[in-house]
């Protein structure tokens, strides 16, 4: 187990190095002189320009700048922002840092609950009207982009009935719609996975045995059948969490939530590239860590995988 963990952690290094290299290259491939942008109407002031250039380390050769860049990331400072002159990027990120992961985790919980319930429900009513209804909802949930679904949910729940606030962040009521909208595609995915899986399991011999023993339908479905879903669910939960995390950008745009993704997009428009690149790096790191955790979790849930990893 420990060896597996170590190997995976070492495997992260090239990815993070590549990400740092790519973001560094992107920062320097950008058209225009950031110092000129920062100075705007003072751009004729050579002394000021030189001072800024020194503060941002832009007067040094590129390899040195790259080393400084890595050092800045390792210390968590992420360099200095272009938009808020003199301010470290870490300060700009501070208030947004936790919003996106919280959104993604809450949506994952909602997606797993709704998806498993919906999938089991459909499988239990195979080929009947309830099943067809669930499958139709699944097609919509999987195909229609969530910002298009959001249009209808906001109209229904906020505009027409005033049940929930239209936008914003901070109160639990404001979180309901964003979490729901973010969760819908994943919930549909989980439901489809669960339905297919349950249809297969319900035909196994041991299901007939359980029925013959006279167990109640509920006991059969939840204790004997649905339990086997654990491994595929944990596996896909990891993949989904990564997708959910990057999709927070969309939800934050719809509902005007000041999260990391929104900050990255705003920074692009404001030409504050160091902030945008810091968000890119953070997302890559989150993504990698999530995948690592998912693999570990799988190993915990499924002893067969654990043995495979040791060798």
């Amino acid at each position: 187990m420990v060896r597996f963990l170590l190997r995976r952690l070492i495997g992260l290094l090239p990815v993070m190095l590549a990400a740092m290299f790519v973001t560094f290259a992107a920062l320097h491939a950008l058209p225009g002189d950031p110092v000129a942008v920062m100075l705007s109407d003072h751009s004729a002031d050579v002394g000021m320009a030189n001072r800024l250039r020194a503060e941002y380390g832009l007067d040094q050769p590129l390899p040195t700048q790259f080393l400084h860049y890595i050092e800045d990331i390792a210390t968590g400072r992420f360099g200095l922002s272009f938009r808020f002159v003199h301010l470290p990027v870490s300060q700009v990120l501070r208030d947004s840092l936790l919003i996106s992961p919280v959104l993604a985790l809450a949506s994952l919980a909602v997606a797993l609950t709704l998806g498993v319930l919906g999938g089991v429900f459909a499988a239990m009513h195979r080929n009947r009207i309830q099943d067809t209804a669930v499958v139709l909802v699944l097609v919509v949930g999987l195909s229609v982009p969530n910002f298009a679904i959001a249009t209808f949910l906001v109209t229904l729940l906020s505009v027409q009935t005033n049940l929930l606030p239209v936008a914003g962040w901070g109160t639990p009521r404001q979180a309901v719609l964003p979490v729901l909208v973010l969760a819908i595609p994943s919930a549909a995915y989980v439901a489809r996975l669960t339905r297919t899986f349950m249809l297969e399991v319900l035909q196994q011999d041991y299901m007939r045995t359980a029925r013959a023993k006279g167990l109640s339908e509920r006991l059969i479905v939840w204790r004997h059948a649905a339990r086997n879903m654990l491994v595929p669910l944990v596996t896909s939960a990891g993949v989904m969490l990564g997708g959910l995390l990057s999709n927070t950008v969309v939800v934050e745009t719809i509902f005007n939530i000041p999260g990391l993704g929104r900050l990255a997009i705003d920074s692009i428009f404001a030409r504050d590239y160091p902030v945008a690149m810091a968000v890119v790096l953070l997302f890559v790191l989150f993504y990698a860590v999530i995948n690592l955790l998912a693999d570990l979790l799988c190993a915990l849930v499924d002893p067969r995988l654990r043995r495979g990893m040791a060798g």
């Binding site: 950008l30 249009t151 997009i265 890119v280």
Partner: protein, 285 residues
């Protein structure tokens, strides 16, 4: 030659006709493609004609679906938007199929160092979530249609390359490849002339399933403001424009959401239908 050489074309067609979802999808897709091709003829008004005295108009007999914040006809913009969506989708498909097949094919056929290098690159690209990759590209290239195409191509080629590699590895075991090698056929010609026709069906299925996702990704990037820019209409940016006024003028967001939803459902149903027809073994994957 296809992956199922035993089935003549008419039987494939019959099998496809039996899939109800596939037929519904095919009808939707044909309509969308026709609309995109004939867009200038079908649009009742020029898509960029503004009318500042008639902004946010509700649907009436002049503007069937109403107007947006600049008084532009929503119906005409939706019709032109089909063209933009399909243009981006077909560009991305063309690019990713070329790049993915070449790199995946070379990796599978040659193995060794080439394989290692290409697959390492694939792993690294896959470490970036797609929206994040788009943010990165948008930072370098600025926002616009090119950014969408470049970003989505970057996201999509690794998948195609992986699939091609695994398909080529299977074909490599076949006798006809050995025969071609013995005949002294150059490796790349074996790939192009002999292996490619045998792996075309699963690649086509993959591509057709991809279209819906690419249209969705394009709309997402345009929705975020990173993609297609004004005055060119894109369904994603139309929804973005419509969302803030949902309370007073819901038509822009509503109609755009319906159009994009139906289009993607159509492409996905068609893709699933094709998959079941052309490659029954892939079912459920």
């Amino acid at each position: 030659m296809s992956a199922v050489p035993a089935a003549p074309r008419s039987r494939l067609l019959r099998r496809f006709r039996r899939s109800r979802g596939g037929m519904v999808g095919a009808v939707i897709v044909v309509v969308v493609i026709l609309v995109a091709l004939l867009a200038p003829l079908l649009a009742p008004h020029p898509f960029d004609a503004t009318d500042l005295l008639n902004t946010w108009a509700p649907p009436d007999h002049v503007n069937r679906l109403g107007t947006d914040r600049l008084g532009r006809d929503i119906a005409s913009r939706l019709i032109m938007g089909a063209r933009v969506s399909l243009l981006v989708a077909s560009s991305v498909l063309a690019i990713t199929l070329c790049v993915g097949v070449v790199f995946g094919g070379v990796a599978g056929l040659f193995g060794g160092t080439a394989d290692g290098l290409i697959m390492r690159a694939v792993d690294i690209v896959l470490a970036f979530p797609e929206v994040v990759l788009a943010i990165l590209v948008a930072a370098v290239l600025g926002t616009g249609t090119t950014t969408v195409i470049v970003a989505l191509s970057l996201v999509w080629w690794p998948g195609i390359a992986r699939l091609t590699r695994s398909l080529v590895l299977v074909q490599k075991q076949e006798l006809y490849v050995d025969a071609a090698i013995v005949c002294g056929t150059p490796r790349l010609e074996i790939l192009w002339r002999h292996i490619l026709p045998n792996i075309a069906a699963p690649l086509l299925v993959r591509a057709s399933i991809g279209v819906g996702f690419i249209i969705m990704a394009e709309a997402t990037l345009s929705f975020l403001g990173l993609g297609v820019q004004e005055p060119t209409p894109s369904w994603g940016s139309m929804i973005r424009d419509g969302l803030p006024t949902l309370r007073s003028d819901p038509y822009l967001a509503m109609f755009s959401s319906i159009v994009i939803g139906v289009t993607i459902i159509g492409f996905n149903l068609l893709g699933d239908g094709l998959r079941d027809t052309l490659d029954p073994r892939l079912h459920g994957h």
